[in-house]
Point group: D2
Chain length 293, copies 4
Amino acid sequence: MEAARPVLGTGRVADYIPALAAADPAAFGLALATVDGEVHGVGAWEQPFSIQSISKLFTLSLALAVGGDELWQRVGREPSGSPFNSLVQLETEHGIPRNPFINAGAVVVTDRLHSLTGDARAAVRDFLRAESGNPLLDSDSVVAASEAEHGHRNAALAHFIASYGNLENPVATVLQHYYDHCALTASCRDLALAGLFLARHGLRADGSRLLTRSEAKRINAVLLTCGTYDAAGQFAYRVGLPGKSGVGGGVLAVVPGRGTLCAWGPALDPAGNSVGAVAALDAFTTATGWSVF
Amino acid sequence: MEAARPVLGTGRVADYIPALAAADPAAFGLALATVDGEVHGVGAWEQPFSIQSISKLFTLSLALAVGGDELWQRVGREPSGSPFNSLVQLETEHGIPRNPFINAGAVVVTDRLHSLTGDARAAVRDFLRAESGNPLLDSDSVVAASEAEHGHRNAALAHFIASYGNLENPVATVLQHYYDHCALTASCRDLALAGLFLARHGLRADGSRLLTRSEAKRINAVLLTCGTYDAAGQFAYRVGLPGKSGVGGGVLAVVPGRGTLCAWGPALDPAGNSVGAVAALDAFTTATGWSVF
Amino acid sequence: MEAARPVLGTGRVADYIPALAAADPAAFGLALATVDGEVHGVGAWEQPFSIQSISKLFTLSLALAVGGDELWQRVGREPSGSPFNSLVQLETEHGIPRNPFINAGAVVVTDRLHSLTGDARAAVRDFLRAESGNPLLDSDSVVAASEAEHGHRNAALAHFIASYGNLENPVATVLQHYYDHCALTASCRDLALAGLFLARHGLRADGSRLLTRSEAKRINAVLLTCGTYDAAGQFAYRVGLPGKSGVGGGVLAVVPGRGTLCAWGPALDPAGNSVGAVAALDAFTTATGWSVF
Amino acid sequence: MEAARPVLGTGRVADYIPALAAADPAAFGLALATVDGEVHGVGAWEQPFSIQSISKLFTLSLALAVGGDELWQRVGREPSGSPFNSLVQLETEHGIPRNPFINAGAVVVTDRLHSLTGDARAAVRDFLRAESGNPLLDSDSVVAASEAEHGHRNAALAHFIASYGNLENPVATVLQHYYDHCALTASCRDLALAGLFLARHGLRADGSRLLTRSEAKRINAVLLTCGTYDAAGQFAYRVGLPGKSGVGGGVLAVVPGRGTLCAWGPALDPAGNSVGAVAALDAFTTATGWSVF
């Protein structure tokens, strides 16, 4: 937390929707969960925030757990080298999003999860509740409505994907579930616990298996190469862990075999990653040697 | 090796220069070196081949070891999401190559190493000789001349970079050293040994320190996100290790804290990575659990 | 017509909506209208067809006539160098479409005309009726509905433009009027007459002034440089006249000071221009020397 | 000239080479030549300046006159929609430059003219001398040398084209002739006379035929759609004539059947076109109605 302090508030809080713009740029929290289920924290580690794109990690994991590798015929696994909401690559690559963590990719994954489960919104929410042990964890309907209202670009992405025949459900339905995922509200504590299955090589909190060891490894690989928008190389360089960020200011990182870290600070760098959270994770991994490299 | 057999020869040997086109598409070798300096192999693991872009890993490590982080003002660390010899991103990003492992980036790194040492060619060759213990390791002048003769695209890259003021030495000089690096001839054994400093967190074969622990970690991160052209996501997904490939058919992968693997098979997939070498590394890491994730 | 015969049917009828796919690839018509209001024709010159993008010419002229040059702050005048429904340039240029004749540009022009007149659909239809003297000229509601149903890409364009704040009316409203324009049904005769104001330097059929001489000249310039998708250079080279094509197979060309030509043949080349209509215009202008150059 | 006065000096003189940077931003000249060979002028209309890209018009005309339409297999005719020295489109379109007036295209045309005549430099210079009646017209060797010295980007373009097999002569040879063309020094008077063959539908000053009527028409079409870099649409809109500009500040425009206009003012707009020359041509064509539309 000391490491994050100097940079807190130096970035810019996401302001494309009013609900996010109200966040305190100087807020900060950090939680550390270990594979045995223990969790510790500093700062505002129990304060709920909007998880935004961190939800993409759970949507992907559930879609793979339920439906398997067929997903990869509809979405790629390569870093995008472009901003997270770019349409350019989508056009070049004929409606196949580059990876599941850019918005276009997450829309496709949400569509698939919805087809597989009948209710993508509930699938992700229920999983987060179960893993975090927080039965009150839910979507913020004000945030979701605000996303939809200011969501012309995501609507453009979804229609564009649909124009290539890469959506199974109606655009409006998919977007609604997508926005509900982004609007989930959780704390660093909740998210650190919810992400532990990736540190446990696929095992859930109750010991049941969500993913095979190989699948868990592979999701970690996609996180490391694609999890932090077009700053994945920078994040790998500084932090050296698989991780997923959200414009709500959260970053969830995985230390395979050991545990998870979730840091939060609403002020963002130009690539959309939390300035404070990345600095804290950088300092923590440098100090502890917790890195995959 | 059994894992690689079914796919050997299913790709296409690099044929842009005659010297490479002559390689046997069914050839295969694999070497495993451990951090204590032991090395084992199967197949043609002691047969020299053209290391090509694997040289970029050594050029980068030496430029950082000698000159430090200033290099990153002249070259980025993000995956390119484009073919390895693309000029598009170079133009968009005003002459700053996306990362040190695309051709444009390696030209800049070679330029810097040449400014730092006075002889980029000798610096890389001598390092490989010392680490591999093979005093005969050298560039193949026929291959280097052939590269230069068919090198209009690399000349275009270099002139383009120079037009942005991002080269210190004359274009012709930089290209000559660049081609000599690519034309270095080494075996799986040589390369596995030469790459061990990255598994040893920065320590050379003689125990001296080339890089700090943090620097070694960071090079591994760049390798994982950018080391295999625009298939870095795919390689991370399948193999889960930092690695660097070359169109000569070699792939050198690092298992931090444990050792290195170097596989070789001249037939390439469309992204320019060895079909056989990647299959062998995939099988090996799946069987042994040697992965960073 | 003899010139067009050899190529009739060599292209491919637009098939993205069923209503267009049913057109006879061998159909052909050509009308010639002179500035004094006379009109002659050969072949199926009185057979109505779907005017599609030819409507963009009328939407633009009316938006400029009613609202003046302010339009050019929301849409450019440069050739696109990209397919007519590309999103790439829209992104690069921050929601300002390159010109009024690509789909994105026409959506913006429709939006403006709707704001200016309160009913963009009626404005264009009534103008065409008045100039052609055909009171029955109307939109084909089946075609309009079919466009909307298969219009994910146009919906993507419109939402994307809206995301940059470059739409004043709701996306759904603008698209509805846009589709109704495209679904207007008219014959070569009707269109040749309706376009005469551009040959008459701005004067309508009844002698009243729609545009100043300078405005008419300028619309002709935009037609010549941008009127035939990404084949504008090719059309200028072969035909040498300002012109606008539609995927219904029509092409309307202007001979300033002299008259208009409208040719029709449903089979299209890969750029979306009628094979037969362009061949006929090429032959006609070569034979008569009717060219602006 | 009065029309140009307010804007003279408001742009920026080309400064990529010292020889051009020394030009007086407030200088201005305008010449008007009629098809019967008369020429009139105002301001510094007899002062020689560096014709730069205006040479591309003559290179193209001669390559077509000598070698015919085969040229179009090696270079396109579409507007580029990108800056004149962009490499992006060259990559997308596999080494076929978009049109003969971007630098890449002019390099290919120079290569072809050199193959056809044995001396591209002499061919263009001698043609300009003959048509202008100015036997002293020549290249400025200081400018040519300066272009070569600062020509990394053009060298990149040429090597890139060569990498696709689209050059017949050595890169160094082609560039030398290309730079000599650009370094030709001529006055508004000289250029207006030298361009008259395009106003005379292909006839030279001595009455002999350089191009067929159809070829002359077609070159005018390419000029109008592609002659002023990525501002061709804007130039067509304002001036309404085929024209070619150069970064030396000259613009040569053709009024088919009537004559030519050559204006000069060294200060450039951001697209590389002379601010004063374009303003003067705009005012002249508006006042006289000399426009092709």
